[in-house]
Protein backbone atom coordinates (compact mmCIF):
# COMPACT_ATOMS: atom_id res chain seq x y z
CA UNK A 1 0.00 0.00 0.00
CA UNK A 2 2.71 2.44 0.83
CA UNK A 3 4.39 2.29 -2.53
CA UNK A 4 1.36 3.14 -4.58
CA UNK A 5 1.82 6.65 -3.31
CA UNK A 6 5.21 6.89 -4.93
CA UNK A 7 4.70 5.74 -8.48
CA UNK A 8 3.34 8.84 -10.11
CA UNK A 9 5.84 11.39 -8.84
CA UNK A 10 8.76 9.08 -9.55
CA UNK A 11 7.52 8.63 -13.07
CA UNK A 12 7.29 12.35 -13.46
CA UNK A 13 10.83 12.74 -12.24
CA UNK A 14 12.16 10.06 -14.55
CA UNK A 15 10.37 11.49 -17.55
CA UNK A 16 11.81 14.86 -16.80
CA UNK A 17 15.29 13.39 -16.62
CA UNK A 18 14.69 11.50 -19.83
CA UNK A 19 13.66 14.66 -21.56
CA UNK A 20 16.80 16.46 -20.46
CA UNK A 21 18.89 13.49 -21.49
CA UNK A 22 17.43 13.57 -24.98
CA UNK A 23 18.16 17.26 -25.21
CA UNK A 24 21.72 16.57 -24.17
CA UNK A 25 22.15 13.76 -26.64
CA UNK A 26 20.89 16.03 -29.36
CA UNK A 27 23.33 18.67 -28.30
CA UNK A 28 26.20 16.24 -28.24
CA UNK A 29 25.40 14.87 -31.66
CA UNK A 30 25.12 18.34 -33.09
CA UNK A 31 28.40 19.40 -31.56
CA UNK A 32 30.32 16.38 -32.74
CA UNK A 33 28.74 16.51 -36.15
CA UNK A 34 29.81 20.10 -36.63
CA UNK A 35 33.32 19.42 -35.43
CA UNK A 36 33.59 16.47 -37.79
CA UNK A 37 32.62 18.50 -40.76
CA UNK A 38 34.81 21.45 -39.97
CA UNK A 39 37.84 19.38 -39.16
CA UNK A 40 40.63 18.81 -41.64
CA UNK A 41 40.57 15.73 -43.77
CA UNK A 42 37.65 14.14 -45.48
CA UNK A 43 36.23 10.67 -45.89
CA UNK A 44 36.92 10.48 -49.55
CA UNK A 45 40.56 9.71 -49.20
CA UNK A 46 39.90 6.04 -48.60
CA UNK A 47 38.38 5.85 -51.98
CA UNK A 48 40.59 8.23 -53.85
CA UNK A 49 43.68 6.13 -53.35
CA UNK A 50 42.06 3.06 -54.70
CA UNK A 51 40.37 4.63 -57.60
CA UNK A 52 41.33 7.34 -60.01
CA UNK A 53 40.95 10.97 -59.31
CA UNK A 54 38.34 11.35 -61.92
CA UNK A 55 36.22 14.32 -60.84
CA UNK A 56 33.07 12.69 -62.10
CA UNK A 57 33.70 9.58 -60.08
CA UNK A 58 34.49 11.66 -57.05
CA UNK A 59 31.22 13.54 -57.44
CA UNK A 60 29.42 10.22 -57.80
CA UNK A 61 30.94 8.88 -54.63
CA UNK A 62 30.05 12.07 -52.85
CA UNK A 63 26.50 11.77 -53.91
CA UNK A 64 26.36 8.19 -52.84
CA UNK A 65 27.64 8.96 -49.42
CA UNK A 66 25.30 11.91 -49.17
CA UNK A 67 28.16 14.33 -48.76
CA UNK A 68 27.08 16.68 -51.49
CA UNK A 69 24.32 18.20 -49.49
CA UNK A 70 24.59 21.08 -47.08
CA UNK A 71 25.74 20.33 -43.57
CA UNK A 72 22.41 21.14 -41.99
CA UNK A 73 20.64 18.83 -44.39
CA UNK A 74 23.12 16.07 -43.71
CA UNK A 75 22.65 16.44 -40.00
CA UNK A 76 18.91 16.44 -40.16
CA UNK A 77 18.83 13.43 -42.38
CA UNK A 78 21.17 11.60 -40.06
CA UNK A 79 18.94 12.52 -37.15
CA UNK A 80 15.91 11.44 -39.07
CA UNK A 81 17.45 8.05 -39.67
CA UNK A 82 18.57 7.77 -36.12
CA UNK A 83 15.07 8.15 -34.79
CA UNK A 84 14.03 5.25 -36.96
CA UNK A 85 16.86 3.23 -35.55
CA UNK A 86 19.04 3.50 -38.60
CA UNK A 87 22.54 4.50 -37.73
CA UNK A 88 23.58 4.69 -41.31
CA UNK A 89 26.21 2.69 -43.09
CA UNK A 90 29.91 2.79 -42.58
CA UNK A 91 31.77 4.63 -45.30
CA UNK A 92 34.45 2.08 -45.27
CA UNK A 93 32.59 -1.20 -45.21
CA UNK A 94 29.16 -0.14 -46.31
CA UNK A 95 27.67 -2.30 -43.61
CA UNK A 96 25.17 -0.91 -41.16
CA UNK A 97 26.87 0.93 -38.37
CA UNK A 98 24.49 -0.51 -35.90
CA UNK A 99 25.58 -4.10 -36.24
CA UNK A 100 29.25 -3.18 -36.17
CA UNK A 101 28.71 -1.12 -33.10
CA UNK A 102 26.78 -3.77 -31.28
CA UNK A 103 29.48 -6.34 -31.73
CA UNK A 104 32.30 -4.30 -30.38
CA UNK A 105 30.17 -2.14 -28.15
CA UNK A 106 29.00 -5.11 -26.18
CA UNK A 107 32.56 -6.23 -25.66
CA UNK A 108 33.57 -2.85 -24.37
CA UNK A 109 30.51 -2.73 -22.18
CA UNK A 110 31.33 -6.10 -20.69
CA UNK A 111 34.78 -4.83 -19.92
CA UNK A 112 33.50 -1.59 -18.45
CA UNK A 113 30.78 -3.00 -16.28
CA UNK A 114 32.81 -5.97 -15.23
CA UNK A 115 35.68 -3.83 -14.10
CA UNK A 116 33.27 -1.47 -12.36
CA UNK A 117 32.05 -4.40 -10.31
CA UNK A 118 35.60 -5.37 -9.48
CA UNK A 119 36.46 -1.85 -8.44
CA UNK A 120 33.43 -1.66 -6.20
CA UNK A 121 34.18 -5.04 -4.68
CA UNK A 122 37.56 -3.73 -3.64
CA UNK A 123 36.69 -0.18 -2.75
CA UNK A 124 33.46 -0.53 -0.80
CA UNK A 125 34.65 -3.01 1.84
CA UNK A 126 37.77 -0.97 2.41
CA UNK A 127 35.72 2.18 2.78
CA UNK A 128 33.34 0.53 5.22
CA UNK A 129 36.08 -0.98 7.32
CA UNK A 130 38.09 2.19 7.52
CA UNK A 131 35.13 4.28 8.61
CA UNK A 132 34.50 2.02 11.57
CA UNK A 133 37.55 3.35 13.35
CA UNK A 134 38.01 0.12 15.20
CA UNK A 135 41.53 -0.69 14.18
CA UNK A 136 42.92 2.54 12.84
CA UNK A 137 46.22 1.16 11.63
CA UNK A 138 44.77 -1.73 9.77
CA UNK A 139 42.30 0.42 7.95
CA UNK A 140 44.89 3.01 7.13
CA UNK A 141 47.18 0.34 5.81
CA UNK A 142 44.43 -1.09 3.66
CA UNK A 143 43.51 2.32 2.35
CA UNK A 144 47.08 3.11 1.51
CA UNK A 145 47.41 -0.21 -0.25
CA UNK A 146 44.34 0.61 -2.28
CA UNK A 147 45.70 4.02 -3.15
CA UNK A 148 48.88 2.47 -4.42
CA UNK A 149 46.94 -0.02 -6.47
CA UNK A 150 44.97 2.81 -7.85
CA UNK A 151 48.01 4.75 -8.95
CA UNK A 152 49.48 1.89 -10.91
CA UNK A 153 49.49 2.64 -14.59
CA UNK A 154 46.99 0.23 -16.04
CA UNK A 155 48.95 -0.59 -19.14
CA UNK A 156 51.93 -1.72 -17.13
CA UNK A 157 49.74 -3.66 -14.76
CA UNK A 158 48.17 -5.38 -17.74
CA UNK A 159 51.48 -6.46 -19.04
CA UNK A 160 52.63 -7.76 -15.70
CA UNK A 161 49.42 -9.77 -15.50
CA UNK A 162 49.93 -11.21 -18.96
CA UNK A 163 53.48 -12.06 -18.13
CA UNK A 164 52.59 -13.81 -14.91
CA UNK A 165 49.88 -15.84 -16.48
CA UNK A 166 51.90 -16.68 -19.52
CA UNK A 167 55.08 -17.66 -17.76
CA UNK A 168 53.77 -19.17 -14.59
CA UNK A 169 50.51 -20.66 -15.67
CA UNK A 170 51.11 -21.07 -19.35
CA UNK A 171 47.94 -19.37 -20.32
CA UNK A 172 48.58 -17.51 -23.46
CA UNK A 173 46.80 -14.31 -24.24
CA UNK A 174 46.04 -14.89 -27.84
CA UNK A 175 42.47 -14.25 -28.68
CA UNK A 176 41.58 -15.16 -32.17
CA UNK A 177 41.34 -11.76 -33.69
CA UNK A 178 37.94 -10.62 -34.84
CA UNK A 179 36.10 -13.51 -33.26
CA UNK A 180 33.58 -12.12 -30.84
CA UNK A 181 33.14 -15.54 -29.38
CA UNK A 182 36.84 -15.97 -28.88
CA UNK A 183 36.22 -15.94 -25.17
CA UNK A 184 35.58 -19.58 -25.35
CA UNK A 185 39.27 -20.06 -25.19
CA UNK A 186 39.98 -19.23 -21.63
CA UNK A 187 37.80 -18.06 -18.83
CA UNK A 188 40.77 -16.73 -17.01
CA UNK A 189 41.84 -14.74 -19.96
CA UNK A 190 38.37 -13.37 -20.17
CA UNK A 191 38.46 -12.28 -16.58
CA UNK A 192 41.96 -10.93 -16.66
CA UNK A 193 41.38 -7.66 -18.49
CA UNK A 194 38.32 -7.04 -16.38
CA UNK A 195 40.24 -7.52 -13.19
CA UNK A 196 43.18 -5.50 -14.43
CA UNK A 197 40.98 -2.62 -15.43
CA UNK A 198 39.05 -2.96 -12.22
CA UNK A 199 42.20 -2.47 -10.24
CA UNK A 200 44.04 -0.08 -12.46
CA UNK A 201 41.40 2.37 -13.54
CA UNK A 202 42.49 4.90 -10.99
CA UNK A 203 39.10 5.51 -9.48
CA UNK A 204 39.51 3.20 -6.50
CA UNK A 205 41.00 5.95 -4.42
CA UNK A 206 38.25 8.42 -5.19
CA UNK A 207 35.56 5.88 -4.54
CA UNK A 208 37.07 4.98 -1.20
CA UNK A 209 37.41 8.57 -0.23
CA UNK A 210 33.90 9.55 -1.23
CA UNK A 211 32.32 6.52 0.39
CA UNK A 212 34.22 7.05 3.58
CA UNK A 213 33.29 10.69 3.79
CA UNK A 214 29.64 9.95 3.22
CA UNK A 215 29.51 6.95 5.49
CA UNK A 216 31.20 8.76 8.33
CA UNK A 217 28.89 11.70 7.88
CA UNK A 218 25.83 9.46 7.94
CA UNK A 219 27.06 7.50 10.94
CA UNK A 220 27.26 10.68 12.92
CA UNK A 221 23.69 11.68 12.11
CA UNK A 222 21.15 11.90 14.88
CA UNK A 223 18.95 9.18 13.55
CA UNK A 224 21.73 6.67 13.65
CA UNK A 225 22.37 7.51 17.26
CA UNK A 226 18.68 7.08 17.97
CA UNK A 227 18.63 3.77 16.11
CA UNK A 228 21.53 2.60 18.21
CA UNK A 229 19.67 3.70 21.32
CA UNK A 230 16.80 1.45 20.47
CA UNK A 231 19.07 -1.46 19.88
CA UNK A 232 18.59 -1.57 16.15
CA UNK A 233 21.30 -2.40 13.66
CA UNK A 234 23.00 0.77 12.52
CA UNK A 235 23.92 -0.93 9.28
CA UNK A 236 20.35 -1.38 8.30
CA UNK A 237 19.67 2.26 9.01
CA UNK A 238 22.75 3.73 7.43
CA UNK A 239 22.65 1.55 4.35
CA UNK A 240 20.41 3.67 2.22
CA UNK A 241 22.02 7.01 2.76
CA UNK A 242 25.50 5.85 3.60
CA UNK A 243 26.14 3.09 1.10
CA UNK A 244 23.53 2.80 -1.59
CA UNK A 245 23.39 6.45 -2.55
CA UNK A 246 27.14 7.08 -2.56
CA UNK A 247 27.71 3.90 -4.57
CA UNK A 248 25.23 4.88 -7.25
CA UNK A 249 26.67 8.38 -7.32
CA UNK A 250 30.12 6.96 -7.86
CA UNK A 251 28.94 4.54 -10.52
CA UNK A 252 27.31 7.32 -12.46
CA UNK A 253 30.32 9.56 -12.08
CA UNK A 254 32.98 7.03 -12.91
CA UNK A 255 31.47 5.26 -15.89
CA UNK A 256 32.91 7.76 -18.36
CA UNK A 257 36.28 7.40 -16.75
CA UNK A 258 36.23 3.64 -16.84
CA UNK A 259 35.06 3.61 -20.43
CA UNK A 260 38.15 5.61 -21.21
CA UNK A 261 40.40 3.23 -19.38
CA UNK A 262 38.77 0.38 -21.24
CA UNK A 263 40.15 1.75 -24.46
CA UNK A 264 43.69 1.46 -23.18
CA UNK A 265 43.18 -2.01 -21.78
CA UNK A 266 41.70 -3.17 -25.05
CA UNK A 267 44.97 -2.32 -26.69
CA UNK A 268 47.04 -4.22 -24.15
CA UNK A 269 44.96 -7.37 -24.25
CA UNK A 270 43.94 -7.22 -27.84
CA UNK A 271 40.38 -7.12 -26.75
CA UNK A 272 38.01 -6.58 -29.68
CA UNK A 273 36.27 -3.58 -28.37
CA UNK A 274 35.16 -0.16 -29.42
CA UNK A 275 38.59 1.43 -29.07
CA UNK A 276 39.95 -0.05 -32.21
CA UNK A 277 36.82 0.68 -34.15
CA UNK A 278 36.87 4.29 -32.99
CA UNK A 279 40.46 4.69 -33.96
CA UNK A 280 40.08 3.21 -37.37
CA UNK A 281 36.92 5.15 -38.04
CA UNK A 282 38.57 8.38 -37.02
CA UNK A 283 41.45 7.83 -39.38
CA UNK A 284 39.03 7.02 -42.15
CA UNK A 285 36.82 9.94 -41.33
CA UNK A 286 34.04 7.41 -41.33
CA UNK A 287 31.40 9.85 -40.17
CA UNK A 288 28.49 7.50 -39.53
CA UNK A 289 30.63 5.19 -37.45
CA UNK A 290 32.08 8.03 -35.46
CA UNK A 291 28.65 9.47 -34.79
CA UNK A 292 27.41 6.05 -33.82
CA UNK A 293 30.25 5.55 -31.38
CA UNK A 294 29.79 8.96 -29.85
CA UNK A 295 26.11 8.44 -29.36
CA UNK A 296 26.74 5.01 -27.93
CA UNK A 297 29.24 6.34 -25.42
CA UNK A 298 27.00 9.21 -24.47
CA UNK A 299 24.04 6.90 -24.01
CA UNK A 300 26.02 4.65 -21.72
CA UNK A 301 27.08 7.61 -19.62
CA UNK A 302 23.54 8.88 -19.40
CA UNK A 303 22.19 5.47 -18.53
CA UNK A 304 24.47 5.59 -15.54
CA UNK A 305 23.13 8.99 -14.57
CA UNK A 306 19.55 7.96 -15.07
CA UNK A 307 19.90 4.94 -12.85
CA UNK A 308 21.33 7.22 -10.22
CA UNK A 309 18.28 9.46 -10.47
CA UNK A 310 15.96 6.51 -10.23
CA UNK A 311 17.70 5.10 -7.19
CA UNK A 312 17.60 8.52 -5.56
CA UNK A 313 13.90 8.78 -6.23
CA UNK A 314 13.18 5.42 -4.71
CA UNK A 315 15.31 5.91 -1.67
CA UNK A 316 14.36 9.43 -0.75
CA UNK A 317 10.70 9.76 0.11
CA UNK A 318 10.87 13.50 -0.26
CA UNK A 319 11.33 13.34 -3.99
CA UNK A 320 7.85 12.02 -4.34
CA UNK A 321 6.49 15.11 -2.73
CA UNK A 322 8.62 17.85 -4.11
CA UNK A 323 9.84 16.30 -7.31
CA UNK A 324 13.37 17.39 -6.51
CA UNK A 325 16.53 15.39 -6.33
CA UNK A 326 17.80 14.07 -3.05
Amino acid sequence: MKYTLLWKPILKLVLRELFITILLLLGVSLLIFSILHFAPGDPLHIFINIQTQNPEEIAAIKRELGLDRGIAVQYLSWLNNLIRGNFGNSFRTGKPVFSELINVGVNTLILTIGSLIVTLLIAVPIAVVSSLRRRPFLSWGLTLFAYILSALPVFWLGYIAIYIFAKKFNIFPFLSAGAPSGFRLNWIYFLLPIIVLGIGNGSISEIIRHMRTQLERVLSEDYIKAAKAKGASIWRHSFKEGILIPVTTMIAAKIPFILGGAVVVEQVFNWPGMGRLAWQASLDRDYPVIMGITIFAAVVVHLGRLSQTIVFAFVNPQTSEKGEDA
Binding site: G27, W140, I148, S150, P153, F155, W279, S282
Partner: protein, 297 residues
Protein backbone atom coordinates in the same frame (compact mmCIF):
# COMPACT_ATOMS: atom_id res chain seq x y z
CA UNK B 1 47.11 -2.35 20.94
CA UNK B 2 46.99 0.29 23.63
CA UNK B 3 46.55 3.98 23.05
CA UNK B 4 47.92 6.53 25.43
CA UNK B 5 46.25 9.81 26.33
CA UNK B 6 48.33 12.24 28.26
CA UNK B 7 47.15 15.42 29.85
CA UNK B 8 49.58 18.15 29.13
CA UNK B 9 47.82 21.35 28.51
CA UNK B 10 44.85 22.45 30.50
CA UNK B 11 44.59 26.06 29.60
CA UNK B 12 41.80 27.41 27.49
CA UNK B 13 42.43 28.53 23.98
CA UNK B 14 40.08 28.92 21.08
CA UNK B 15 40.25 25.96 18.80
CA UNK B 16 40.96 27.89 15.67
CA UNK B 17 43.89 29.64 17.21
CA UNK B 18 45.75 26.41 17.39
CA UNK B 19 47.93 26.31 14.30
CA UNK B 20 47.00 23.87 11.61
CA UNK B 21 49.89 21.57 12.20
CA UNK B 22 48.82 21.06 15.76
CA UNK B 23 45.25 20.21 15.07
CA UNK B 24 45.96 18.02 12.10
CA UNK B 25 45.79 14.31 12.14
CA UNK B 26 49.22 12.75 11.97
CA UNK B 27 48.13 10.63 9.08
CA UNK B 28 47.12 13.60 7.00
CA UNK B 29 50.39 15.29 7.68
CA UNK B 30 52.33 12.30 6.52
CA UNK B 31 50.30 12.18 3.36
CA UNK B 32 50.85 15.83 2.68
CA UNK B 33 54.50 15.50 3.44
CA UNK B 34 54.91 12.66 1.03
CA UNK B 35 52.97 14.52 -1.58
CA UNK B 36 55.10 17.59 -1.21
CA UNK B 37 58.25 15.58 -1.59
CA UNK B 38 56.92 14.12 -4.79
CA UNK B 39 55.96 17.53 -6.07
CA UNK B 40 59.43 18.70 -5.29
CA UNK B 41 60.93 15.87 -7.21
CA UNK B 42 58.75 16.43 -10.20
CA UNK B 43 59.50 20.10 -10.16
CA UNK B 44 63.21 19.58 -9.89
CA UNK B 45 63.12 16.97 -12.61
CA UNK B 46 61.44 19.44 -14.80
CA UNK B 47 63.94 22.14 -14.09
CA UNK B 48 66.81 19.73 -14.52
CA UNK B 49 65.38 18.60 -17.80
CA UNK B 50 65.00 22.11 -19.09
CA UNK B 51 68.45 23.07 -18.03
CA UNK B 52 69.91 19.82 -19.26
CA UNK B 53 71.39 19.05 -15.87
CA UNK B 54 71.46 15.37 -16.53
CA UNK B 55 73.94 12.68 -15.71
CA UNK B 56 73.88 11.49 -19.27
CA UNK B 57 72.42 12.51 -22.55
CA UNK B 58 69.00 10.91 -22.64
CA UNK B 59 69.28 10.39 -26.33
CA UNK B 60 72.83 9.26 -26.27
CA UNK B 61 73.00 5.87 -27.83
CA UNK B 62 75.82 3.78 -26.56
CA UNK B 63 75.59 0.30 -27.91
CA UNK B 64 78.49 -0.88 -25.87
CA UNK B 65 76.57 -0.42 -22.64
CA UNK B 66 73.26 -1.93 -23.58
CA UNK B 67 70.89 -3.36 -21.04
CA UNK B 68 73.03 -2.90 -18.04
CA UNK B 69 71.69 -3.44 -14.57
CA UNK B 70 71.82 -0.56 -12.17
CA UNK B 71 75.29 0.20 -10.94
CA UNK B 72 77.23 3.14 -9.65
CA UNK B 73 77.72 4.49 -13.12
CA UNK B 74 74.13 4.25 -14.26
CA UNK B 75 71.93 4.44 -11.21
CA UNK B 76 68.96 2.92 -12.93
CA UNK B 77 70.81 1.02 -15.59
CA UNK B 78 70.61 1.45 -19.32
CA UNK B 79 68.08 0.51 -21.90
CA UNK B 80 68.30 -1.49 -25.05
CA UNK B 81 70.07 1.27 -26.87
CA UNK B 82 72.54 1.95 -24.11
CA UNK B 83 70.82 5.11 -22.99
CA UNK B 84 70.82 5.95 -19.33
CA UNK B 85 67.43 5.25 -17.84
CA UNK B 86 67.63 7.76 -15.03
CA UNK B 87 68.26 10.63 -17.40
CA UNK B 88 65.43 9.52 -19.57
CA UNK B 89 63.10 9.40 -16.63
CA UNK B 90 64.10 12.89 -15.58
CA UNK B 91 63.53 14.20 -19.05
CA UNK B 92 60.28 12.29 -19.24
CA UNK B 93 58.75 14.66 -16.77
CA UNK B 94 58.85 17.33 -19.42
CA UNK B 95 56.23 15.49 -21.36
CA UNK B 96 53.47 16.16 -18.91
CA UNK B 97 54.55 18.94 -16.65
CA UNK B 98 53.95 22.08 -18.63
CA UNK B 99 51.08 20.70 -20.65
CA UNK B 100 49.61 19.51 -17.38
CA UNK B 101 49.79 22.97 -15.95
CA UNK B 102 47.97 24.24 -19.00
CA UNK B 103 45.24 21.70 -18.51
CA UNK B 104 44.91 22.55 -14.84
CA UNK B 105 44.83 26.27 -15.42
CA UNK B 106 42.14 25.98 -18.06
CA UNK B 107 40.02 23.65 -15.98
CA UNK B 108 40.32 25.79 -12.86
CA UNK B 109 39.90 29.13 -14.53
CA UNK B 110 36.85 28.39 -16.59
CA UNK B 111 35.50 25.96 -14.09
CA UNK B 112 35.49 28.44 -11.22
CA UNK B 113 34.02 31.14 -13.40
CA UNK B 114 31.25 28.87 -14.58
CA UNK B 115 30.60 27.56 -11.10
CA UNK B 116 30.53 31.00 -9.53
CA UNK B 117 28.26 32.49 -12.15
CA UNK B 118 25.84 29.64 -12.26
CA UNK B 119 25.76 29.23 -8.50
CA UNK B 120 25.43 32.88 -7.72
CA UNK B 121 22.89 33.80 -10.35
CA UNK B 122 20.90 30.64 -10.56
CA UNK B 123 17.86 30.55 -12.80
CA UNK B 124 18.31 30.64 -16.52
CA UNK B 125 22.03 31.36 -16.48
CA UNK B 126 22.45 28.30 -14.37
CA UNK B 127 20.39 26.20 -16.75
CA UNK B 128 22.35 27.27 -19.78
CA UNK B 129 25.72 26.81 -18.21
CA UNK B 130 24.72 23.48 -16.74
CA UNK B 131 23.54 22.32 -20.11
CA UNK B 132 26.76 23.18 -21.82
CA UNK B 133 28.82 21.60 -19.09
CA UNK B 134 26.68 18.48 -19.16
CA UNK B 135 27.34 18.24 -22.87
CA UNK B 136 31.04 18.17 -22.23
CA UNK B 137 30.52 15.65 -19.48
CA UNK B 138 28.53 13.30 -21.67
CA UNK B 139 31.40 11.88 -23.60
CA UNK B 140 34.23 9.99 -21.99
CA UNK B 141 37.53 11.79 -22.06
CA UNK B 142 39.43 9.08 -23.79
CA UNK B 143 36.94 8.91 -26.60
CA UNK B 144 37.22 12.63 -27.22
CA UNK B 145 40.98 12.48 -27.09
CA UNK B 146 41.16 9.57 -29.48
CA UNK B 147 38.90 11.33 -31.91
CA UNK B 148 40.87 14.50 -31.60
CA UNK B 149 44.15 12.74 -32.15
CA UNK B 150 42.92 10.94 -35.20
CA UNK B 151 41.52 14.10 -36.67
CA UNK B 152 43.97 16.78 -35.84
CA UNK B 153 47.22 15.00 -35.09
CA UNK B 154 47.80 17.48 -32.32
CA UNK B 155 50.75 18.09 -30.09
CA UNK B 156 50.65 17.34 -26.41
CA UNK B 157 49.64 20.90 -25.58
CA UNK B 158 46.50 20.71 -27.66
CA UNK B 159 45.64 17.38 -26.12
CA UNK B 160 46.06 18.81 -22.67
CA UNK B 161 43.92 21.73 -23.66
CA UNK B 162 41.16 19.29 -24.44
CA UNK B 163 41.75 17.46 -21.17
CA UNK B 164 41.45 20.75 -19.37
CA UNK B 165 38.19 21.48 -21.09
CA UNK B 166 36.82 18.10 -20.12
CA UNK B 167 37.63 18.84 -16.51
CA UNK B 168 35.77 22.13 -16.44
CA UNK B 169 32.42 20.55 -15.52
CA UNK B 170 33.90 18.83 -12.48
CA UNK B 171 35.43 21.97 -11.07
CA UNK B 172 32.34 23.98 -11.92
CA UNK B 173 30.04 21.62 -10.10
CA UNK B 174 32.21 21.60 -7.00
CA UNK B 175 32.37 25.37 -6.89
CA UNK B 176 28.69 25.66 -7.63
CA UNK B 177 27.72 23.36 -4.80
CA UNK B 178 29.91 25.40 -2.50
CA UNK B 179 28.19 28.59 -3.58
CA UNK B 180 24.80 27.03 -3.07
CA UNK B 181 25.89 25.85 0.33
CA UNK B 182 26.87 29.37 1.21
CA UNK B 183 23.61 30.60 -0.18
CA UNK B 184 21.65 28.21 1.99
CA UNK B 185 23.55 29.34 5.00
CA UNK B 186 22.45 32.87 4.22
CA UNK B 187 26.05 33.86 3.92
CA UNK B 188 25.48 35.69 0.67
CA UNK B 189 22.32 37.35 1.85
CA UNK B 190 24.08 38.59 4.92
CA UNK B 191 26.95 39.94 2.87
CA UNK B 192 24.55 41.78 0.61
CA UNK B 193 22.71 43.17 3.58
CA UNK B 194 25.98 44.49 4.90
CA UNK B 195 26.27 46.39 1.68
CA UNK B 196 29.31 44.60 0.32
CA UNK B 197 29.95 45.08 -3.36
CA UNK B 198 28.99 42.14 -5.53
CA UNK B 199 32.44 41.94 -6.97
CA UNK B 200 33.93 41.77 -3.50
CA UNK B 201 31.47 39.16 -2.37
CA UNK B 202 32.23 36.88 -5.24
CA UNK B 203 35.92 37.20 -5.45
CA UNK B 204 37.08 37.89 -1.99
CA UNK B 205 34.60 36.17 0.20
CA UNK B 206 33.30 33.27 -1.77
CA UNK B 207 36.25 32.47 -3.91
CA UNK B 208 39.23 33.31 -1.83
CA UNK B 209 38.04 32.43 1.63
CA UNK B 210 35.83 29.51 0.85
CA UNK B 211 36.88 27.93 -2.40
CA UNK B 212 40.62 28.01 -1.96
CA UNK B 213 40.63 24.47 -0.69
CA UNK B 214 38.66 23.14 -3.63
CA UNK B 215 40.93 24.83 -6.12
CA UNK B 216 44.13 23.57 -4.56
CA UNK B 217 42.82 20.05 -4.25
CA UNK B 218 41.51 19.96 -7.79
CA UNK B 219 44.88 21.17 -8.99
CA UNK B 220 46.65 18.25 -7.36
CA UNK B 221 44.10 15.73 -8.57
CA UNK B 222 44.27 17.29 -11.99
CA UNK B 223 48.00 16.80 -12.16
CA UNK B 224 47.64 13.19 -11.12
CA UNK B 225 45.12 12.67 -13.89
CA UNK B 226 47.31 14.45 -16.42
CA UNK B 227 50.20 12.15 -15.68
CA UNK B 228 47.94 9.19 -16.15
CA UNK B 229 46.55 10.42 -19.44
CA UNK B 230 49.81 11.54 -20.92
CA UNK B 231 51.56 8.32 -20.06
CA UNK B 232 48.66 6.27 -21.36
CA UNK B 233 48.70 8.17 -24.61
CA UNK B 234 52.40 7.92 -25.13
CA UNK B 235 52.17 4.25 -24.30
CA UNK B 236 49.67 3.86 -27.07
CA UNK B 237 52.05 5.70 -29.32
CA UNK B 238 50.20 8.95 -29.62
CA UNK B 239 52.08 11.30 -27.43
CA UNK B 240 55.76 11.88 -27.34
CA UNK B 241 57.45 9.86 -30.03
CA UNK B 242 60.67 7.95 -29.93
CA UNK B 243 63.47 8.72 -29.39
CA UNK B 244 62.24 11.45 -27.07
CA UNK B 245 61.55 9.82 -23.76
CA UNK B 246 58.23 9.87 -22.04
CA UNK B 247 57.41 7.55 -19.23
CA UNK B 248 54.64 6.07 -21.27
CA UNK B 249 56.67 5.25 -24.32
CA UNK B 250 59.46 3.93 -22.14
CA UNK B 251 57.04 1.42 -20.66
CA UNK B 252 55.86 0.55 -24.13
CA UNK B 253 59.35 0.08 -25.46
CA UNK B 254 60.30 -2.01 -22.50
CA UNK B 255 57.35 -4.30 -22.59
CA UNK B 256 58.76 -6.51 -25.27
CA UNK B 257 61.72 -7.26 -23.09
CA UNK B 258 59.55 -8.66 -20.37
CA UNK B 259 59.55 -12.11 -21.71
CA UNK B 260 63.28 -12.11 -21.83
CA UNK B 261 63.33 -11.49 -18.16
CA UNK B 262 64.40 -7.86 -18.35
CA UNK B 263 61.77 -6.16 -16.29
CA UNK B 264 63.60 -3.06 -15.46
CA UNK B 265 63.06 -1.24 -18.69
CA UNK B 266 59.34 -1.19 -18.17
CA UNK B 267 59.26 -1.15 -14.44
CA UNK B 268 61.44 1.84 -13.74
CA UNK B 269 59.24 4.33 -15.58
CA UNK B 270 56.14 2.56 -14.29
CA UNK B 271 57.33 3.07 -10.75
CA UNK B 272 58.03 6.69 -11.55
CA UNK B 273 54.46 7.02 -12.77
CA UNK B 274 53.18 5.24 -9.72
CA UNK B 275 55.01 7.41 -7.25
CA UNK B 276 54.13 10.62 -9.01
CA UNK B 277 50.44 9.89 -9.28
CA UNK B 278 50.37 8.59 -5.75
CA UNK B 279 52.19 11.63 -4.47
CA UNK B 280 49.86 14.11 -6.06
CA UNK B 281 46.86 12.14 -5.04
CA UNK B 282 47.92 11.78 -1.41
CA UNK B 283 48.72 15.45 -1.32
CA UNK B 284 45.24 16.28 -2.51
CA UNK B 285 43.63 13.80 -0.18
CA UNK B 286 45.55 15.00 2.86
CA UNK B 287 44.79 18.62 2.07
CA UNK B 288 41.16 17.71 1.61
CA UNK B 289 40.97 16.12 5.04
CA UNK B 290 42.69 19.07 6.55
CA UNK B 291 40.93 21.93 4.91
CA UNK B 292 37.51 20.76 3.91
CA UNK B 293 36.37 18.14 6.26
CA UNK B 294 34.79 19.49 9.37
CA UNK B 295 35.68 17.19 12.17
CA UNK B 296 32.61 15.66 13.61
CA UNK B 297 32.30 15.45 17.34
Amino acid sequence: MRTRYVQRGAEVSEFSQIPIWRRANKKDLIQIGFGLIVVLFVLSSYIAAVLHLLPYDPLGINLKEMMQSPDYKHILGTDFMGRDILSRIIVGSQAYFMPGLLSIIIALFFGTMAGLVSGYNGGRTDSIISYILDLIDSIPKMVIILLAIAFFRPGIYFIMLIVGITNIPTVASLIKSKVIFLKKRNFIEAAKALGLKTRDIIFKHILWYNCKAIVIIQATLGMAEVILIETSLSYLGFGVQEPEPSWGNMVAAGKDYFFRGDFFLSTAPAVAILISILGFYLLGDGLNNLLEWRRRR
